[in-house]
Amino acid sequence: MKKSCDLDLSALRTSLLWLLGAVIVASLLIASSLHFRAAMENEKRAQDSRLQALVRNYQDLVEAERIIETLFGRYRKLEARGFIGEEPRLQWLETLRRMGEENGILAMEYRLHEQRPYSLPPAVDSGSYQVYASAMDLQVDALHEGDLLLFLDHLHGQESGLVVVDGCTLRRQGGDEVLPGAANVRAACKLSWFSIRVQDDDAMGGEEFM
């Protein structure tokens, strides 16, 4: 009873064209609306990022203002002391000589070794600076242990360089009696003179030299 049913494809041509047109229109509509949405979303994200960056910059600026207000004076002192930048070795030696004279040091021998990078603990953020230390072997003849201690104490407090006494070995000289004007105590000390420099400066210096 059932027979095959042939469709009249010619009658469907217009409908198929309509469908094709609808699909094209729909695709264009969706694509353009998605493009519009994406463009607006990207624009908003860009504005968000700009605002966040501005907020961060503003906070950094507030922090910078606080740092400048509170720490810039100390920074200038450190700079004047020779802690920041190239080592003022001549200044250090002059300070050493002056301190020895002022504290009754009878004789002094020194050996200032070459500068080496110094690693701080990870907890201490040195920013863009590299810390350097120059080790110094110092042999001092003093009348009395007290003179030596005064010398080291004044060396700590002086305004030239940042020096740290790593260790000292004090030996009694001569007999049991303290002789006036004689070197009764000899101390062999190890000192470290610290300084910092911006890391980029090193690279630049090297390039210039080359």
Binding site: D8, I30, P121, K190
Partner: protein
């Protein structure tokens, strides 16, 4: 949806148009050349709307046959073969199972029906096909009568439904259990006024005898007869109640029945043409007799409609989606503008604050880092003074102990140091070095005191006691955390050999050394 219902009889065709306002008759076309041409002209004005055909022919044949009970494709194939044998001259065939035998093999009772004279409908179909009018299906008044059983509340098992169509004639359809088994059309050839009831009674009587011959009824079995009529015919039927005694008669008004079915029929309508047309237009199974070839334009029409609907749905969905996207985009744009405004304000504040900052050659981060590093170095550097003071206090009560050498070392107590691992402390004492390694995290100072007993009279026991007393005195000093006697004048360890001499003038020096560990103290001593 607009559709056309064509009620076709041997005399001609009545066209009904179903649209949003309802069903209304559009014209009568006689079954001759003029009628066909007029119909073709009418179709040109209507356009390609779907058409449902309702036939009402004398030449509609009905057979109930018993066939083996099979299912699925086998049933279809069996029915097709059997129908082809029964109705060789026509393709307008229909079959369906109406019940099963109660005895023997319980074969299926299959109703076969067909429009035995295809020419009666073929000429109309040719007009439709020429214009590619979509034919939804071909139904018949007889088969459509089944749909009246429920609204008429016909509870009887065997019912003869009598309807009167304007152009077809008197249609008597016999139904068992609500299913059509047989139908007969008696054409009208004109009758004297007032003889309508007797005419119907006579036709029913003929049909009853025929049903008996077909063994649908036994001679004594009563038949429920339901007559649907209206207007003046209804009044005539009701005036002749005495003549319908043999069977259980029911008379129903066409208009009332149409109202029950939700169709609109005029109050004084006497015929059922419009009622059946409404039933066909109202939906349900639209096709019984049309072969797939007849329906191809309708399939094309439906596919076209489907494509149009799909196109519309696609565009609507795209519009909806695009609308949502555009709405989202506008929201993003609005929020972006608000953010831009905030950014503008933030930029103004930033510029104002930046203008207040002093012009310095270094940035704040470097200032903070430099101060932080300097602070760290200054914090852990120490002086030997406090430790020496403690040693001096310890020696205060031991005048016979002469100190010859003090080795002092400060330990920062963390991971700081010169990068070159070869840099080591100048201290010689290995014991102190290992001790320092064990407490690397503490900020401590170490010292090794070397000396001798002076004067020493050779009494090692007293010398050792004095040294131990010195060590105890050191342990009592502030910040001293550990004191260890490293060497004694005489090594009396059980693991070592002890040798010496007594009685000579010269006595060896009684040398000793003591290791001291002190927690860092930042106070100034001098």
């Amino acid at each position: 949806m607009t559709q056309l219902i064509l009620h076709i009889s041997a005399q001609g065709m009545t066209a009904f148009e179903q649209d949003g306002r309802g069903l209304h008759e559009t014209g009568w076309f006689p079954a001759d050349k003029t009628g066909l041409e007029t119909f073709a002209a009418a179709l040109n004005t209507l356009g390609r709307v779907p058409v449902g055909i309702l036939t009402d022919f004398i030449e509609e044949e009905f057979r109930v046959e018993s066939l083996p009970h099979v299912r699925g494709r086998d049933r279809v194939a069996l029915h097709q073969r059997h129908a082809a044998r029964l109705f060789r001259a026509t393709d307008f065939q229909y079959s369906r199972v109406v019940g099963r035998q109660q005895t023997q093999r319980r074969d299926d009772l299959v109703l076969f029906s067909a429009l035995a004279n295809p020419d009666l409908i073929g000429r109309w179909l040719a007009v439709l096909d020429t214009r590619k009018i979509p034919l939804a299906g071909i139904h018949s008044v007889a088969m459509l009568s089944e749909r009246l059983v429920k609204p008429l509340d016909l509870a009887e098992a065997k019912v003869l439904l009598v309807t009167h169509n304007r152009n077809g004639g008197l249609r008597q359809t016999y139904l068992e259990q609500g299913k059509v088994r047989f139908s007969r059309l008696s054409p009208e050839h004109g009758r004297p006024s007032g003889a309508y009831a007797r005419h119907i009674a006579g036709e029913i009587s003929k049909t009853r005898r025929y049903l008996g011959s077909l063994q649908f009824l036994t001679p004594d079995e009563k038949l429920a007869v339901c007559i649907i009529s209206g207007g003046s015919l209804l009044a005539e039927l009701e005036s002749c109640q005495d003549e319908r005694l043999a069977d259980r008669y029911q008379i129903h008004d066409v208009a009332g029945l149409a109202a029950k079915l939700g169709c609109h029929v005029a109050e004084n309508e006497a015929f059922c043409d419009r009622l059946f047309a409404s039933l066909l237009a109202g939906g349900g199974k639209p096709n019984l007799y049309a072969a797939p070839a007849h329906l191809r334009h309708y399939q094309t029409y439906r596919l076209r409609k489907g494509l149009h609907a799909t196109s519309l749905a696609t565009v609507c969905a795209a519009l909806l989606w695009s609308g949502i996207n555009v709405s989202d985009g506008l929201i993003f744009r609005e929020r972006g503008m608000q953010t831009a405004l905030l950014a503008q304000q933030a930029q103004a504040r930033y510029d104002a604050m930046a203008g207040r900052l002093p012009d310095i050659p270094v940035n704040a981060g470097d200032i903070a880092a430099a101060v932080r590093v300097a602070g760290y170095i200054e914090a852990w550097r120490s002086q030997p003074g406090p430790l020496l003071m403690n040693i001096s206090r310890g020696l205060g009560r031991h005048a016979n102990l002469q100190v010859n050498e003090i080795a002092w070392r400060s330990d920062p107590g963390d991971d700081a140091g010169v990068d070159d691992a070869a840099e080591e402390s100048g201290l010689e004492d290995e014991a102190l070095e290992s001790e320092a390694a064990g407490d690397a995290r503490e900020k401590v100072q170490y010292a090794v005191v070397k000396g001798k007993i002076e004067p020493f009279d050779g009494n090692y026991l007293r010398a050792h006691r004095d040294i131990e007393s010195f060590a105890r005195a050191l342990r009592g000093q502030p910040q001293i955390s550990e004191v260890e006697i490293l060497t004694l004048p005489l090594n009396v360890s059980q693991a070592a050999t002890v040798e010496g001499q007594f009685g000579r003038q010269q006595v060896e020096d009684a040398k000793f050394s003591v290791g001291i560990k002190m927690r860092r103290d930042d106070e100034k001593v001098l």
